[in-house]
Symmetry: C2
Subunit: 311 residues, 2 copies
């Protein structure tokens, strides 16, 4: 591995560790100012859903983009923790019987299996709300304009025009609201769905570093471009894992998209062209980072990692 690859792996590991610790501390039992009590079962369910030892790739992107502007490490971690709360809530709600009806997540019972449906719904609601609590706290950034901008950007990325909207498009694509048959989406429609469902939070993660760092216009545009590309690569790699991956390595059932007749970019392009697309996207991600020179090395590695991951 070259130096950037080492720096990337090291930052990825250390952010995952720090986020686990930070979320554990933020979701401790004693109530904070403005809270009356933290009911034990709710807190347990929120901790179960968020303290799960994931890769924490979204918080990594926040920390790596924030590092370009010498943002203090703790500020980036707080934003990463808030973002991870949104990601984890979305998994809890997506797994519900009325949604994707999944019993397992990373080899563990899903929240509604480990607790019950009502607790899972509330734990999701609590995590989503907690994300904005974290972002708005003075310790997240001394300048309230930065905090308000983070809140607005996350709300846009996570809401009806972003992640929640993408989940709705995904359910519709499965034929949930019509005749029960999967919709035949074209590449453009699949791109929109995926940009919303998974892309929007990854894009926010990359923009967050620029917001925290009060970066200039050109730097913000570069990060937004990079974040959009990483979101696309992330999803195509996910499609390919579902087609080619080994379920033991991937950590979840594979072949699900094809079985469900689901339109994905990889299915539309075919495996060979999908892999070429990934190569192109990695090159484009590198191009978007040109502005940052050598400092962009870790983020280049991250783009390569996203495109070539095996799990």
């Amino acid at each position: 591995m070259n130096d950037s690859a080492v720096a990337f792996q090291s930052l990825l590991t250390s952010v995952a560790h720090d986020i686990e610790k930070l979320l554990g501390r933020l979701l401790a039992a004693p109530p904070v100012a403005g809270e009356r009590a933290r009911p034990e079962r709710l807190l347990d369910a929120m901790r179960y859903a968020s303290l799960n030892g994931g890769k924490r790739f979204r918080p990594f992107l926040v920390s790596a983009t924030a590092a370009l502007f010498d943002v203090p490490k703790d500020q980036a971690l707080l934003v990463g923790a808030g973002l991870e709360c949104v990601h984890c809530y979305s998994l809890v709600h997506d797994d519900l019987p009325a949604m994707d009806n999944d019993d397992l997540r990373r080899g563990k019972p899903t929240a509604h299996k480990a607790f019950d449906e009502a607790s899972a719904i509330l734990a999701g609601d609590g995590l989503l709300t907690f994300a904005f609590d974290i972002l708005a706290r003075p310790e997240t950034h001394p300048d309230p304009a930065v905090r308000a901008e983070l809140v607005l950007a996350l709300a846009r990325g996570a809401g009806l025009g972003g992640m929640v909207g993408g989940q709705m498009l995904d359910l519709a694509a499965e034929g949930r609201f019509g005749d029960g048959k999967p919709q035949k989406l074209d590449e453009k429609a699949v791109s929109t769905l995926q940009a919303m469902k998974t892309g929007a939070l990854l894009r926010f993660a990359c923009n967050a570093g620029g917001i925290l760092g009060q970066a200039g216009k050109h730097e913000r545009e570069a990060l937004d471009r990079y974040g959009t590309i990483v979101g696309q690569a992330f999803q195509i790699a996910d499609d390919l894992l579902d087609i080619e991956g080994d379920s033991a390595t991937v950590g979840k059932a594979t072949g699900k998209d094809a079985a469900a007749g689901k339109a994905t970019i990889a299915a539309i392009l075919g495996v060979t062209r999908a892999k070429e697309r990934l190569t192109t996207l990695v090159a484009e991600a590198e191009g978007a980072l040109a502005l940052f020179g050598a400092a962009g090395g870790v983020l280049k590695q991250a783009a390569w990692f996203v495109a070539n991951r095996s799990a």
Copy 2:
């Protein structure tokens, strides 16, 4: 009616009208900056759940407390609209089969009946997220410190130490997680539950005026006290309506608390003492407003209205 009573009724009606119009405009079809698309079914479900002609009492409290500090009307309405999104999302999720399993809300099918469970879950998630979107927008207040403070206060009131936590305590009190028997809560435990489940948002509504108006310490403390008292009165009046109210007037089934063996303040105190308590609370609310002199007249009327409402 005296002048304050007239001013109260007039403001209540006008805020309800303005909130309906504002939410309709905010939840229009075209996506805004940072959004990719607003999926039609999701937007329809969010509009169904929020454009319902309710009394909009929480937004009224925001507008009435903001008026004490000459806050521009549109700012208070935006905060009221955000708060109402939280209130409406909570009703949608509470009505779900896994929660209270209600088919009707204000005489109309609940969201999961009018749409489906998945759409209702997502509409709730979308409305909660949208609340923070609205609060963080520059047009809500020119000073980002005010916006960040509003976001933090709403997140604390709505989250695990507030409304969501209260809903969890309420489900636990019904015996949902144990042996199926209702818990025998004492007055203190019921007070905590209700302060969280319904009190926290009403309290935020009253504090919001002081935040928007960048009010001083004493004024903020007075509003917080008033908001806490109004929350208590609101809940006892609700308990009494369930005991004594006529379901046609109240607009929902009555006698539900007793049938479910639910501990309420009114059940613990008995009807006579509960009514005395309401009288005391109205007097205390008036006392908390002394600081504001004649300007507090509308809020005094509001406390009386909460305690004596018939629906």
